[in-house]
Symmetry: C2
Subunit: 356 residues, 2 copies
């Protein structure tokens, strides 16, 4: 298997990250039990939520960014890296409220936990209660993300730079989310619109931000930061394009349900390119299923055929491939150590080949 | 007028605070115009929202906390103090979503701005779009609150302490909000429940947190921080009790509409004490109007009479008075400079005497 080293490293670090998240929340449980029973329970739910199974890709990329500069990581770095897992928890809690999602990581969405707790209470609106508790829990998790970073043990100068970076990551993710929300409301949209959302919501948030945060913790210079960005942005966009392909054509490996993006009416490069190039017949086949929760298997199959025959699938996959190669070329120009390069090279191929 | 010095100082600092908030957002406008037109527009709305007329009591208390330790404030302190006005903006935006409020500071609530922008667009649910944009804008404002503090110009050690304090303020406010949400859902509640919400949501958030943040920026020692807390907590709770009185009996000065808390069914000390002590007839008069938007003037008058005759009004006002005196006694034990003591003494009387 060609991604063996990447997967082994991922597995090794996941456990370390989860251990530190667990320890942090144990301290918080003690702190919050001083406030009230309900506050303690909220923290316990937030802990369980943050420890639901996940790839921990963002904190692990913090470690890799650190290793790229300093060669070796230490406990301080693992603690600091957890900040991005808590940031992710807070964003997921708020996202699921915005999207009215009911599940997350195989269990119910955070706000739904509190909705269900109130369902028998006639005094209040359980949906509103659940969403309100979710908004509060997300805001609280946002603070805890900063706190876990501040208590990691780095010196003050590095911490200030790191908090600044964390706030920038949060800011740019908000920019991406707003653009995505607007994209959903548009009937006419361009490739530029789509790629911008992918750059902010995926490339910057999931790949570049974490690597740079790790590098900043290691005291990287501007040139080193630039090299990491040059690797991160193209592969980040390529990953999102590939993810959108999986959202229509499915994947046995990830268990992503076939055609889910079609039914949700998600505006992806695949859809745009089909709209741009397709014949009238194919266009109608696609339009029929977009955002249509009642579309049949046969109708979805026709839509997929339209995407293939219009060359939109090819276009998307070629673009992803091109961006992936660009990313590797940039990485090869750098002088990062061998193991970091191996990890990032294998991750690159892993991120765009999840279909096969 | 016995609060003349307090009001004069308030007025003087309000302008300075607003000037710095304005400058900060001008920089952000430039930054966000690099991302997209929509991001720039979002920042512009956030700027206008943050600059809507307000007392700016929290940032001003940061200045007073600083002065208590160092005697004089400087531009750095004014910049850093703005963090609490942005924190307030973010919390108000999220609060209004949770409470489904439609107005704020004399204009429409933040999420309603975006709901209205989408009202003609049939592709999406305008209410959901407005609330989603509000959640994102609040999250973004949260980051900007940290950013304005980090760019204030203080040294790294002080900044780390200050960011820690800011996160603690945010954390304890979330605790208070959750407890308030739960209080709303309870049929049986105690004086302790109510006072705890008042401590976290008002005393800590509005009075203690700001004073301590200012003192931390000035490098205060533990004893000094404790003295400020001893002043802040009792007057903070007293202020909230008095505010709840105004919510039922109204105030010409603040323009708070008479009986608004009754119609909203807000669970205050007044209500609890009436329930505890009142005769059956009076109890029914009160129960009838609680949370009843259709209650007539006459019915509201009867409920107010029940609150007075059950002695609940007296009880609440006496408790507020006692806490206010306790707060002043604590202040007089301290060695803060004369002007700081004068400001805090006048503020104390201002906060609990807004009715007269």
């Amino acid at each position: 298997m060609k991604n063996k080293f990447f997967l082994k490293e991922l597995n090794k670090y996941q456990k370390k990250i989860e251990k530190e998240i667990n320890s942090f929340f144990e301290l918080k449980e003690k702190e919050f039990s001083n406030y009230s029973i309900e506050s303690k329970q909220l923290i316990q739910e937030m802990k369980k939520y943050s420890l639901r199974p996940g790839k921990r890709i963002r904190p692990i990329l913090v470690l890799i960014g650190f290793k790229a500069i300093k060669g070796k990581i230490n406990l301080k770095t693992i603690k600091a890296a957890c900040t991005l897992e808590l940031l992710q928890s807070y964003l997921l809690i708020h996202d699921d409220i915005m999207d009215e999602s009911i599940t997350r990581r195989g269990k119910i969405a955070f706000h739904k936990i509190y909705e269900q707790k109130m369902i028998k209470n006639k005094l209040i609106n359980p949906k509103r209660f659940g969403e309100s508790t979710g908004i509060i829990a997300g805001d609280l998790m946002h603070s805890l993300a900063v706190e876990i970073l501040l208590t990691s043990g780095f010196n003050e100068k590095i911490l200030i730079n790191a908090v600044n970076k964390l706030m920038q990551i949060n800011k740019l993710t908000a920019v991406g989310q707003q653009l995505d929300l607007i994209l959903e409301s548009k009937t006419i949209f361009s490739e530029k619109d789509i790629l911008k959302v992918q750059e902010f919501k995926t490339a910057k948030y999931t790949i570049e931000g974490p690597l740079l945060l790790g590098a900043i913790l290691a005291g990287a210079n501007k040139k080193q930061l630039k090299q990491l960005s040059n690797y991160a942005i193209p592969i980040g966009i390529a990953f999102q394009i590939q993810d959108d392909v999986l959202g229509v054509f499915g994947s046995k490996k990830t268990g992503k349900s076939i055609a889910s993006d079609l039914i949700e009416g998600k505006k992806t490069l695949l859809i745009l390119k089909t709209f741009e190039k397709d014949s009238k017949k194919h266009l109608n086949d696609l339009k029929f299923v977009l955002g249509n929760k009642k579309a049949t298997k046969n109708q979805l199959e026709k839509a997929r055929k339209a995407i293939i025959e219009s060359n939109a699938l090819n276009y998307s996959q070629n673009l992803a491939e091109k961006l992936s190669i660009k990313s590797i070329n940039e990485l090869n120009k750098s002088k990062f150590n061998k193991k970091v390069k191996q990890f990032l090279t294998e991750m690159n191929s892993f991120l765009i080949s999840r279909m096969h």
